[in-house]
């Protein structure tokens, strides 16, 4: 007997169909993984069960929870179910909590509403619940406000709210996507324990096949609003019978097809020729004991709290053509370091040399030569383009640093070439960024980065916002350009699979310091530092997860 039974669920918002004939079931105490890429309708499915859909949504089919027909239930019935029998955890912990209410109030609120408990009783239960999710009241009193907690802690509060009344079904919609790998592992452990303790059914929604494999008993794969395949997790993923399942699984484990060159320009004659020159020259980028402090919060009129050291005495260098990953948990200082390398921010102390020239403390005019040889690719394919400009202008933006301003014709020529190199058509020049998909936009971003033929590209989480299949393509493109143009990369990522796929060397950053550096495979297979070990252990890995599942099942 299923706890949740969805049959032939079709749904449209306005005139846009979102779901078509979706079937899905969750048994009591079972973990069901719902996997799909963006736009597959995973979230809408979850919201349908909660009946928290946008008002323009129209649903047909059957959704039965614990004998109750959800689609036909009255709003009062739904209110009685939500939070009591069905709990929900959302993706974005930073915005999921009301900023003006204490965490105690927010956890106790649902308890009071459903059980009519007194304030004191409800607070007592809230305290126990927060304690259970790892926020003991000695350190995290009920009177804390959400902004006083970190993202991972906030997600624990959200989980406490969802599980406060031990619901029969817990829906978790990408509960760890906004967290770094270590927090992700901790949060998943917590969810797993809570589900087991209370024999809750869990509908776990994720884009990450590895995460779902580690957690789910059964798996449902959704694409464009239709169910592709449903079945036992281990079997579905080890057999990979459905083509889309195979595609997803392979993309998740993707390593760019081109052979990685660990020595500079080994199989590239052009670079081979340049090699003696490179060897004589100093490293492309040399960072020498760089430290960056941010002033602390003002605690009284005249006193500041101790300043925060985001980057602490970091030194490293990158050679021409080398591809280096900078890996660390969120808040470890890797983005600050990247900004300093790009001369978008200045260090408190230390120097950074690029092609032998000091670039710290220089004016924008003095930086021009360096900027020509150094470009950047950002994480968010949507936020990194001015929506009001056409592709031609956007991709041509770095040409600003050229000594000789190209003519219009030359400019179009260069843009066309760059677009071609990233696999786009020169015809795309006259489009606006919104006419492109996320993956195409990241290609645009790369086109912009290579148009000046830079020696170094700093890429800040360039694939983490992309779906797995697109991610594989973009990684291929990065690898290809590394070979073709001999460009060096500084790849900032929290995702070890990305580091493994594309870089020669990896640096592990922790609390502002670089704690480990070495050959990528070496560091990831045999981590030495605590920080590296934690990252490696927490990183979800599809191979490993499937193997473990199969082993458990014998």
């Amino acid at each position: 007997m299923s706890l949740l039974e969805i049959e032939n669920l079709s749904l449209s918002i306005g005139d846009t169909p979102i779901l078509r004939d979706v079937d899905l079931s969750v048994a009591p105490g079972e973990v069901m993984g719902l996997v799909g890429e963006s736009g597959s309708g995973k979230s809408i499915t979850a919201l349908t069960v909660m009946r928290l859909l946008p008002w323009a949504a129209r649903a047909t089919g059957r959704v039965v929870f614990d004998g109750i027909d959800i689609l036909a239930a009255s709003e009062d019935q739904m209110c009685a179910l939500r939070g009591d029998d069905i709990g929900m955890v959302f993706q974005e912990p930073m915005t999921a909590l009301n900023p003006v209410k204490t965490i105690g109030e927010q956890v106790a609120e649902g308890i009071r509403w459903h059980t009519r408990a007194s304030r004191a009783d409800a607070e007592d239960r809230a305290r126990k619940m927060l304690d259970r999710v790892g926020l003991p009241s000695a350190k995290f009193p009920l009177s804390r406000y959400p902004h006083e907690l970190s993202g991972g802690q906030r997600q624990r509060v959200v989980i406490a709210i969802a599980c406060a009344l031990k619901p029969k079904l817990l829906i978790a919609d990408e509960p760890t996507t906004a967290l770094d790998v270590v927090l992700q592992a901790q949060t998943l452990d917590l969810l797993r324990d809570l589900v087991a303790e209370n024999r809750m059914g869990l509908l776990l929604i994720s884009h990450d096949l590895a995460v779902v494999t580690e957690m789910a008993d059964r798996i449902t794969i959704l694409r464009h609003g239709e169910v592709m395949e449903t079945g036992d997790t281990a079997r579905t993923l080890s057999e990979q019978l459905h083509p889309y399942t195979r595609q997803l699984a392979q993309a998740s484990m993707h390593v760019p097809a081109l052979a990685r060159t660990h020595e500079v320009g080994q199989d590239n004659p052009q670079l081979q020729a340049a090699k003696p020159l490179l060897q004589v020259a100093k490293p492309l980028l040399r960072v020498e004991s760089v430290t960056r402090d941010y002033p602390g919060r003002r605690t009284s009129l005249l006193r500041h709290a101790a300043s925060i050291r985001a980057v602490d005495d970091v030194s490293f260098s990158i050679d021409a053509g080398q591809s280096v990953a900078l890996v660390g948990r969120s808040g470890c200082g890797k983005s600050t370091l990247a900004r300093m390398v790009l001369a978008l921010d200045g260090p408190t102390s230390g120097t950074i040399r690029f092609r032998g020239q000091v670039i710290t403390g220089k004016s924008e005019a003095e930086l021009k030569p360096a900027r020509r040889d150094m470009q950047v690719v950002f994480q968010d394919p949507y936020g990194s383009f001015d929506p009001r400009q056409k592709v031609e202008k956007l991709v041509a933006e770095p040409l600003h640093v050229l000594e000789k301003k190209p003519t219009n014709a030359e400019r179009r020529e260069m843009v066309a070439k760059a677009l071609h190199e990233v696999g786009l058509s020169p015809r795309d020049m006259d489009k606006y960024p919104h006419e492109f998909s996320g993956g195409q936009r990241q290609r645009l971003s790369i086109a912009r980065a290579i148009i000046t033929r830079p020696k170094l590209v700093v890429a800040d989480e360039p694939v983490s916002a992309l779906d797995v299949s697109i991610r594989a393509q973009i990684l291929d493109l990065f690898a290809e350009l590394n070979q073709k143009l001999g460009v060096a990369y500084l790849f900032i990522t929290h995702d070890l699979t990305v580091a493994r796929a594309i870089t020669d060397q990896v640096m592990i950053m922790h609390d502002g310091r670089i704690v480990e550096r070495g050959r990528t495979s070496e560091v990831l297979d045999h981590p030495q530092s605590e920080a590296a070990k934690a990252l490696v252990a927490a990183a979800p890995d599809l191979h490993r997860a499937i193997a473990r599942r199969l082993q458990e099942q014998g």
């Binding site: 919201l47 978008l344 950047v376 933006e397």
Partner: protein, 289 residues
Amino acid sequence: MTLRFDIPEENFADILVKAFTNRSFLTGFVITALVAAVAIVSFFWTPFDVTRLIIADKTQAPSPAHWFGTDHFGRDILSMIMIGARNSIAVALVAVGIGMGVGVPLGAFAAARGGIFDEAVMRLNDLVFAFPALLSAIMITAIFGPGALNAIIAIGIFNIPVFARVARAGALAIWPREFILAARAAGKGKTLITLEHVLPNIVTLLLVQGTIQFALGILAEAGLSYVGLGTQPPMPSWGRMLFDAQTRMVAAPWMAIFPGMAIAITVLGLNLLGDGIADILDPRSRRQR
């Protein structure tokens, strides 16, 4: 997965289609266009000559000859309202122009530069905000005497901090975006980035605020003229007409009703227009990260 549907930027034709299917925009646009047309027509033609006082015709009720009646000097109210429209629009438009012309650069550069410059601009804003338009008008009148020009200056000065604030807030929301970082990495300076990336992205905000301030300017001009600090007779103005009507409410209510309606309809039209623009161009402008 969140439920944020990214509303893409659209091309001009799409925006036009949306504009003319949007109820607020359409109504506002028609009203505003009508008022503007009336103001323009008044330069060439009015039903009666308002410079000639015909005492024999004084305080006549609305009739086929005088649709809106006549005032205490026998002037045709409709003709006066037409000329008054010209006056109101001119005052409000110039005042918005002053506010935008000074306020937007101040706000945009305060956001770009930050630090002491930003602080100084904000404090200056606080200072001007402490003088409501009417108070500055009173002070200006105390120095230079009453007149339309002083009304423009008073309303214009009051508009400066409004636009400075909107521009600053809008620009501050743009600056942390990644495309700005990309432009900086391309070696562009703050001024260039402000011109190329920031201003084009806050234009809609400014446009919406512009229509609101335009409407407020019309109200303020009417208020100032009503208390004798704005447009001076014999130049007809809506506020002044209401002042003249006040003592004759019982005998000639039409003298008050029609100019008041002219003000209300104009302001209504502009506000609807502003609402419409906001709806069309950025339905979720504030929901962007």
